[in-house]
């Protein structure tokens, strides 16, 4: 009990608790339309934070994250439609399929340097998207695959909201646990220097593939659940600009902080909605923000702000009297 009390004295723990409470009570104050915006924002938050785990911690700059999301959504949808698999089982099958695809792509790209990995994953995503469009007899192509709603009998978006919010919290909790474990330690070592990590005894192949599989599964489950919320999935969800959006969300938030990447995604999705009247100009503003972040706050705008507020960093750990653990989630 005293551990919890002590933890709550930390500003960051209080902020996290405040955020959690806010997420839980928002449906009491927010109209249905804005609930939809938030649900979509949570979907992107899962994608941005899991991509941050892959790229920021694992050092693997992949453009295939939306493809794994789409695999989760399409496989889940297809088994539900063609094999009459129940909803939850179809989501799990979609998630596993995304993980299997992640295993194959992760193993194939193991020795690729950043540029080649990016090119390979762009090619994979495009091949998948074009295949889905071309195989219209199975996937319904550009017309989109119609799916069963998450809550067929409900006219409210509140249950869907809690499902996506719960999924976001679960995914963040799992990823946070992962980066605090030895897996996170090894991933950061691999990101810093693969050769040195191997010389220190880290099984580089194992952990690089592991993070690829796990983040693919997280993208897959997000895709499968979100597709059943919007009740349709089309190949457009995995076009390159969509992947660019997720990457930009993670970078603006902070690619080396899961929480910052998730909050970045939520804030950007809400901002895009608020700036809708600006039409295409909102993307210009958004692009400029990305450029400013890359130039002046390479660790992420939000991460920089958080670090200022919570005075995070290795010296902060010293003050806490711990032994060199990473602060927040790795900052």
């Amino acid at each position: 009990m005293s551990k919890i009390t002590n933890a709550l004295r930390q500003p960051i723990a209080l902020a996290a608790l405040g955020g959690l409470v806010l997420i839980l009570i928002l449906p009491l104050f927010v109209q249905s339309y804005w609930l939809h915006v938030l649900i979509t924002a949570y979907f992107y938050a899962i994608l941005a934070s899991s991509w941050a785990l892959l790229a920021g911690y694992g050092g693997q700059f992949s453009f295939a994250h939306m493809a794994f999301m789409a695999i989760g959504a399409y496989v889940g949808g297809l088994v539900a439609i063609h094999l009459n698999v129940p909803l939850i089982a179809s989501i799990l099958i979609g998630t596993l399929a995304a993980g299997l695809a992640g295993l194959i792509i992760g193993a194939l790209t193991l020795r690729f340097k950043a540029t080649y990995l990016a090119l390979f994953t762009i090619a994979f995503s495009e091949i998948l998207r074009i295949t889905i469009r071309a195989e219209a007899q199975i996937t319904r192509g550009d017309r989109g695959l119609k799916l069963t709603p998450l809550f067929p009998d409900s006219i409210s978006r509140v249950p869907d909201y809690y499902v996506l919010a719960g999924l976001l919290i679960l995914c963040l909790a799992f990823m946070y646990w992962l980066i605090q474990s030895r897996v996170g330690l090894f991933l950061r070592a691999i990101r810093e220097d693969e050769v040195a990590a191997a010389a220190r005894g880290v099984d580089v192949v194992r952990y690089k593939v592991l993070v690829f599989v796990l983040t693919s599964m997280i993208a897959g489950i997000a895709g499968a659940v979100f597709a059943n919320y919007v009740t349709i999935i089309t190949p457009n969800i995995m076009v390159l600009p969509q992947m660019g959006l997720v990457i930009a969300m993670a970078i603006i938030g902070g690619v080396e902080s899961l929480i910052a990447a998730a909050i970045g995604a939520i804030l950007i999705q809400i901002s895009l909605e608020l700036l809708r009247e600006f039409g295409a100009w909102r993307m210009v503003i958004f692009g400029a923000l990305l450029i400013v972040t890359l130039r002046f706050a390479s660790s992420g705008l939000l991460t920089t702000i958080f670090n200022r507020i919570f005075k995070l960093g290795p010296k902060a750990e010293l003050r806490k009297g711990t032994d060199g653990g990473a602060t927040d989630d790795g900052t």
Partner: protein, 242 residues
């Protein structure tokens, strides 16, 4: 500790970097590995450490053939190494740098046990006050010590040091020298690659000289120093005439 290398060959394209290297180390020998630039010293260390696979030949460490094993497997077998250009994990703290080899070696022991071991290693290296600093904030010499600390975490039988004195100021060089001597007296075997002739001749019990991928001399430092082939191939005319 027993290391036995037999007929080790390595090519890079058309260049034969190692030409049938055979040598053995027994007990806690402290061996200096010297030779002119491009003679194959670092290649040999990289092959023993698993970074390169040999084209042919065997490396037996404590009776097990480790030739071609991945670096992490070589580390598990009990061989630790440092690099010519320091490769500490720069955006991780000093303690995290030490936890990586510990947790990779035996995760079952748990983080707290390895932190405790990390503190012991840092105490030995008189770096405990730096444990929560990022590796990137350390000086070049301190990063070399940190690498040595990473190696010591898992208590390996054989330590390969690639240019431990390069780019280190004289005072720290003395410190590193002392650490090596202490560890050697505690039973650790070393293979040390160095261009710093004074240190390596003083430190080593045995010197192996490589030239163009071949061993041209192997013996105690005084004998090697007087070897005419070594003087001609490595030390140059200036020393030969001295």
């Amino acid at each position: 500790m027993e290391l036995k290398i037999q007929d080790l060959e390595k090519r890079f394209g058309g260049i034969k970097a190692l030409k049938g290297i055979s040598l053995s180390l027994l007990g806690n020998e402290l061996v200096g590995l010297i030779g002119p630039n491009g003679s194959g010293k670092t290649t040999l260390v990289n092959i023993i450490g698993g970074i390169y696979k040999p084209d042919s030949g065997q490396i037996y460490f404590n009776g097990r053939d480790i030739a071609g094993l991945k670096p992490n497997k070589v580390a598990t077998e009990g061989i630790g190494r440092t690099f010519q250009v320091t490769r500490a994990f720069r955006r991780m703290t000093v303690m995290e740098n030490l936890l990586v080899p510990g947790m990779a070696h035996d995760p079952q022991l748990g983080r707290e046990t390895w932190q405790k071991r990390g503190r012991e290693v840092l105490d030995f290296l008189t770096m405990d006050h730096l444990r929560n600093d990022y590796a990137r904030s350390l000086s070049g010499g301190q990063q070399k010590l940190l690498e040595l600390g990473q190696v010591l975490m898992t208590d390996p039988g054989l330590i390969l040091l690639d240019e431990p004195f390069a780019g280190v100021h004289p005072k720290l060089m003395e410190t590193i020298f002392d650490y090596i001597t202490t560890l050697h007296s505690e039973g650790k075997a070393f293979i040390i690659v160095s261009h710093d002739m004074d240190s390596i001749f003083t430190l080593s019990e045995r010197l192996i000289v490589l030239s163009y991928g071949e061993i041209i001399a192997d013996g105690d430092p005084e004998t090697v120093k007087r070897d005419e082939i070594v003087i001609e191939a490595y030390l140059g005319e200036e020393d030969a005439s001295a």
